[in-house]
């Protein structure tokens, strides 16, 4: 029996930051589906926000202004007490990462450099060239290694074990050997990242299948605000590889086929630095109205920044553009279109990362605290990972230390393990001849066709019906290869089951929300409707699909106002 005081599921920045915290107080393990350094945090490019006031242009910046920008960016759906925790905590958490060695870019005075980012009133985004996520991930991993955190690399968690409203452990299998095992834990932190792979067009890693969200959902925790899906305006055509917002922060233009900087028609003040939801919709509108290049994409133009600045500040995206689109941004335009980028919704938790289940915490992209509301600002996701990763770690350790009596019944662990063994056995046995690859492709295309930037009731109803069909097909799956060692067929089937479940929740939330707010735009309800929908969507699992409830948004500082840029 594997047993730990606290188990953290996920080895990205939020999980590692949680592990750094808990390992000071109790026995900690990180279970990760990939080696932690392969986590999706490493793909984050542009930076991490904090009101440090490190440059002339942001001297009078403060956490309140950061909070205001975040709340306005969120189209007033964020919980403002949580945003306060995020923005107040930001400077200390970033200084801490610097103290642990993160190689931030520097100002002439030797301070952490800061650049403008979309939707921010001040240049507030601390960065390390255009590979900030990679460097933060490596730094956090090094510190976790230093603290001798126990890592279970390439273990895939399939379910949580709970009893009387408290978490008791989890079931996972070793991808290398295929062996299923039950783990006992007093506290568990979910830090499994987003669910971008549900969409056929996404910047996300292929491992971002939302597994922590599904686990919590199946255990009875609500998923919050899942209809809010961020589409990044500048992803490479056609692979959807991210072209950082930092490019626009450094002064990039976005132009249509007529070489027009069309953002002047959508956000005359902020131009290219309007928030992501607005720029993404503007790009898609240009393409839809025939001003895209070949009616497919528009161009990101950084040529005027010059070779020196590009090599200093944006070397990574130059490499990506050359490798994946065969263009050199120093002299060529970069073909871009919007793609899924971030899951604003997630496991319902409060500003202490606590969920409905005692001992179960969530942090990072898989959680919904909520600090991002209806639209996340660039530079706030890495920040969320370090601020709430630490808090989740603290709270989980605190909780674990209150449990002095081990009352977990062996039979509970055994039954949970056997249930998962049966589940896997059913995959091996098969129940029909449906091909999971085809179901996956249909689901991913469906979500792009019907549940993307512009939504309406008819499309969403069609998506709902089609998802039902896909789930029915999934229940008649061909036998999964019965092979133990590194079985991709099995892993991908389990992930598909999770993604189908989450797709349903996204669609249910989008159908219920008859308004347009942040990333969620209903063409049939084009206005924000504070009277009816200034509230969070909560989706609970039932045998007949998600049951939707709503909860109040906590507004402590800034009352809702019109969102203009």
């Amino acid at each position: 029996m594997n047993s730990h005081d606290v188990i953290i599921v996920g080895g990205g920045l939020a999980g590692l930051r949680a592990a750094i915290e808990t390992s000071q107080y109790c026995d900690t393990a990180v279970i990760s589906r990939v080696h932690p350094l392969r986590s999706h945090t490493g793909a984050a490019q542009g930076g991490i926000n904090a009101a440090l006031g490190n440059i002339e242009a942001n001297k009078d910046d403060n956490w309140q202004k950061h909070a205001y920008d975040t709340i306005k960016g969120a189209d007033f759906l964020a919980d403002q007490d949580a945003v306060e925790v995020l923005t107040k905590g930001a400077p200390a958490r970033i200084i801490e990462m610097e103290h642990w060695g993160c190689p931030f870019s520097r100002t002439a005075e030797g301070k952490i450099a800061q650049r403008p980012f979309a939707g921010l009133g001040y240049p507030r985004t601390c960065f390390a060239a255009d590979k900030t996520g990679h460097y933060l991930l490596v730094t956090a991993y090094e510190q976790a290694v230093k603290r001798k955190v126990k890592f279970y690399d390439e273990w895939f968690v399939t379910s949580l074990i709970t009893d009387k409203g408290a978490v008791k452990g989890l079931v996972a299998f070793d991808v290398i050997t295929g062996d299923l095992k039950a783990f006992k834990a007093k506290g568990i932190v979910l830090a499994t990242g987003g669910a971008g792979w549900i969409y056929g067009r996404t910047t996300n890693s292929m491992i971002n299948t939302g597994s922590g969200m599904t686990m919590a959902y199946r255990a009875g925790v609500a998923l919050k605000d899942m209809e809010f899906v961020q589409f990044h305006p500048t992803t490479l055509y056609p692979t959807c590889i991210l072209m950082t917002e930092g490019a626009r922060g450094e002064g990039a233009y976005i132009v249509n086929s007529q070489n027009e900087r069309f953002m002047q028609r959508y956000a005359p003040k902020a131009m290219e630095l309007a928030p992501r939801d607005i720029v993404a919709r503007s790009i898609q509108t240009e393409i839809n109205e025939g001003r895209g290049v070949k009616n497919l994409y528009v161009h990101l133009d950084i040529r005027h920044l010059g070779e020196k600045k590009i090599m200093l500040r944006l070397p990574g995206i130059r490499d990506l553009a050359m490798d994946f689109a065969a263009v050199d941004p120093i002299k060529d335009l970069i073909p871009i279109w919007p793609g899924q980028h971030y899951t604003m919704g997630g496991v319902d938790c409060n500003a202490k990362c606590e969920t409905l289940i005692k001992g179960l915490y969530a942090a990072g992209e898989c959680s919904c605290v909520s600090v991002h509301g209806a639209n996340r600002l660039g530079g706030n996701s890495l920040l969320e990972c370090v601020v709430f990763g630490k808090i989740a770690g603290e709270e989980a350790a605190k909780y674990a230390r209150t449990i002095t009596q081990d009352d977990t019944k062996e039979s509970l662990l055994r039954d949970s393990l056997n249930a998962q063994k049966d589940h896997v056995a059913r995959f091996y046995a098969g129940s029909g001849d449906e091909d999971p690859s085809i179901i996956r492709e249909e689901m991913r295309n469906l979500m792009v066709e019907k549940v993307f930037l512009f939504r309406n009731r008819q499309d969403l109803e069609e998506a709902k019906a089609k998802l039902k069909q896909l789930k029915a097909k999934f229940s008649k799956l061909r036998p999964i290869i019965g092979y133990k060692v590194y079985n991709l067929d099995l892993i991908r089937a389990i992930e598909l089951e999770e993604m189908l479940e989450l797709s349903e929740v996204i669609v249910a939330g989008a159908l219920g929300r008859e308004e347009s707010r942040g990333s969620h735009v209903r063409l049939d309800f084009p206005k924000r409707d504070d009277e009816r929908f200034l509230k969070h969507t909560l989706a609970y699992k039932t045998p007949d699909g998600p049951r939707i409830e709503y909860s109040a948004v906590r507004i402590t500082m800034y009352p809702p106002e019109e969102r203009k840029y």
Binding site: L37, H99, F104, G110, H134, V145, Y486, N487
Partner: protein, 237 residues
């Protein structure tokens, strides 16, 4: 109106050490799509032809290092290698000189365990100041690119000393040591120089530059190993 679709031959090494006595190659016809990467081709095989095949993947944008393999005789990331650059036949094998788990999946543990030999984490000056450790733009430049290593193991697999000497930390570990030693904020230089300068350390490097040739991030571990040798020789303890 449809053009005849171009196909290539994908030869993939198959091996399960628990079941097979030796590796063999399977050959697949793969339909080429525009801008197809080797990783795309591998997925086409997995989804359409052979669901037993196994390999690692994650970011598919050359930042995570998961999908590194021995592709047409060279260590490369499958995700940023365009099929069109390789001709009509593509041969994929696991990274050489690393124990195979199955097919293209190799054992990561030896590589990461050897990282521990060089104290693979930052040590700042105690007590930490309230603000960031100051670092000039020029000092920060000293760690440019060396911090870009993605731990994909390409260099480790290409290094002849790593093939034969189990105690040799390897190019990536030395690169990481150099990353800290060149960082003006780090305080463990003396200890790290002692660690890398040990009997099975940097002096074993044969300076054949295989690691630099193999690196998909165009880093040059050999240069840093040479730099470490100079620093070890001149450092005042």
């Amino acid at each position: 109106m449809s053009e005849p679709q171009k196909k290539i031959l994908l030869r993939i090494q198959r091996f399960d050490p628990k079941m097979d006595t030796e590796p063999h190659y399977d050959v697949f016809d793969v339909l080429v799509r525009p801008r197809m990467t080797v990783l795309d081709a591998m997925f086409q095989v997995l989804e359409k032809q052979d669901r037993m095949l196994t390999f690692r993947y994650s970011c598919r944008s050359a930042v995570c290092g998961s999908c590194v393999a021995f592709i047409n005789g060279k260590q490369r990331l499958a995700c940023n290698t365009q099929v069109s650059t390789l001709g009509d036949e593509v041969t994929i094998a696991p990274l050489p000189h690393i124990p195979v788990v199955r097919d293209l999946v190799v054992d990561l543990r030896p590589f990461f365990n050897k990282m521990d030999l060089i104290k693979p984490y930052f040590e700042g000056k105690d007590p930490y100041p309230e603000k960031e450790f100051p670092q000039s733009i020029k000092d920060r430049e000293a760690i440019d690119t060396v911090i870009d290593c993605i731990d994909c193991m390409a260099c480790y697999s290409a290094c002849p000393m790593s093939w034969t000497n189990e105690k040799y930390p390897g190019p990536a570990a030395f690169l990481k040591a150099a990353r800290f030693i060149n960082d003006t904020r780090d305080t463990a230089t003396a200890e790290r120089l002692r660690l890398v300068g040990c009997e099975d350390g940097i002096w074993r490097c044969h300076t054949v530059f295989n690691c630099a040739d193999a690196c998909p991030k165009k880093l040059n571990p050999t240069n840093y190993i040479q730099q470490l040798k100079r620093k070890t020789a001149t450092h005042k303890h």
